[in-house]
Amino acid sequence: MSRAVTKQAGGWRKQQALDRAAAGNSLGRDAWRRLSANRAAMTSLGVLVSITLAVIIGPWLTSYDYFSQDYDAIWQAPSLATGHWFGTDQVGRDLFARTLTGGRISLMVGIVTTLVSLVIGVTYGAVAGFIGGKTDSLMMRAVDILYSLPFMFFVILLVVFFGRNLFLLFAAIGAVSWLDMARIVRGQTLAIKSQPYIEAARMAGAGTARIIARHVVPNLAGIVVVYVTLTIPQVILFESFLSYLGLGVQPPATSWGALINDGTGEMSVAPWLVLIPSIFLAVTLFCFNFIGDGLRDALDPKDR
């Protein structure tokens, strides 16, 4: 009983939020105001932008590249004097260049793969929620089934049987990380479906596909942005995990996970080899999670 009451209250608030959205885009502005008041989230955003810029520009700032070996300069500690700002590894490769180039791969995997999961998840969830009835329960039952499969092992299985390449990695991780998105989008679609503007569109003669694409999906934007922010770190983690095991990106290409794996072996001689990529990875994940949490609070003021 109590659950029903809280649910109703939640529905009412959502309704209110939707009404506000209808009144001239003020939900977005409102959310941005609340987010910019959240100092932790704004700091995270700043850090994340810096990391992204560093990863894009950084490799051009140093005279070293990420793959050249230099046996006269192995295991050099980080130093400004030598130009190896982050030190070198066991074959004399420059860790600064390697960390930032690896970061390109990590971030790219995170973003591209999240886009894959976004497209699948939003389409699936919106279709299931909008059509409803038997189709909906069948589609969501399929999601339930997929949920209870050990995905990590499936992805490894895929990589083992079909060889290791970056494209497969995008597709495989993307294909397994859309489930949360589908569930959330479906729930939200159910709420949107009963809005008067949907009825109006239908009365104006719009077909189901058009209504989903033009009227349902744009109104999902808020919740989708939150889950995109929370999916990116998961995917980055997933890729690092595979690369850490030696099943992700292949040399000479590298990523943060692969660098941490390399560094772990040299840990007692050259701790910076594991420390620096670890810090980059952890800080990036932390920032994404903080922004995602902040966005969720900003868009859904229920717990305030």
Binding site: V159, G246, I260, N261, A282, N289
Partner: protein
Amino acid sequence: MLAYTLKRLAGVVPTLFILLTATFLLVHLAPGSPLDGDRPMPAEIRANLEAKYHLDEPLIQQYGRYLANTAQLDFGASYQYKDTSVNDLIATGFPVSLAVGGFSLLFALVLGIPLGILAAVRQNMPADYGAMGASLAGISVPNFVLGPLMILAFAVYNDWLPAGGLGGWQHYVMPVIALGTMYLAYVTRLMRAATIEVLRAPFIRTARAKGLSETRVFVVHVLPAALLPVISFLGPGAAAILTGSVVVEQIFGIPGLGRFFVTAALNRDYTLVLGITLFYGIIIIAFNLVVDVLYGWLDPRVTYR
């Protein structure tokens, strides 16, 4: 109750079916044959081998054989470790993984539940911010970062704990912390959110209005309701811990099933990779079933139909 359990049990069938079919198709769609070696093989020998491994039968017949074998939990022989069946390897490795994983789950629950309650009771106060910040950090620091850092701090720079292998309880400390921290963080967040929601529910107000003591309200009314999300997290949580143990076993050199899995994946030991995936799939499905039934039994709102 029995009917509910049976219904859940029936729900397992399609899941298992998809697990088996997907793995089977994956193996058969993969390029190359397991018989392909470095040197070309005479056609007669190849035909003989194919007959021995039933590769000459139609696909549907092979599929039937595969289903029958898996139903008997027979995963065949390993390519890599000669004369050893996948079953033997699972029997050696799984108890080790189970111990590490079980302790990690326990670690996450025993610390996460009180921490989440504390954060909820002190909502928007320093204790809450501290617990939430720490749990966000816990989610953001992956086990393959935490593990090496702990080895560096506690085994390399200080000689407090063994860096790897298995032995006394000391060997479990770092692996369990490395593996359990992320789930500790999840459990804390879940517990906090659930406790906050329950504390606002009308039945808690009613309990207080009846004049029950705060302790009694908390132990009898708040706690059981707030624990439900944590219980439903146990299913996915256990799956995630099994997955995570793959990495942690690698870091700490623990001879568990996860380590076999990685070695098999790197050496393209098809049968072992497939066998462990199936085995873990079945374990996870079974565990989810147990959690579901437990949930239905604990939550009075679930109706047994």
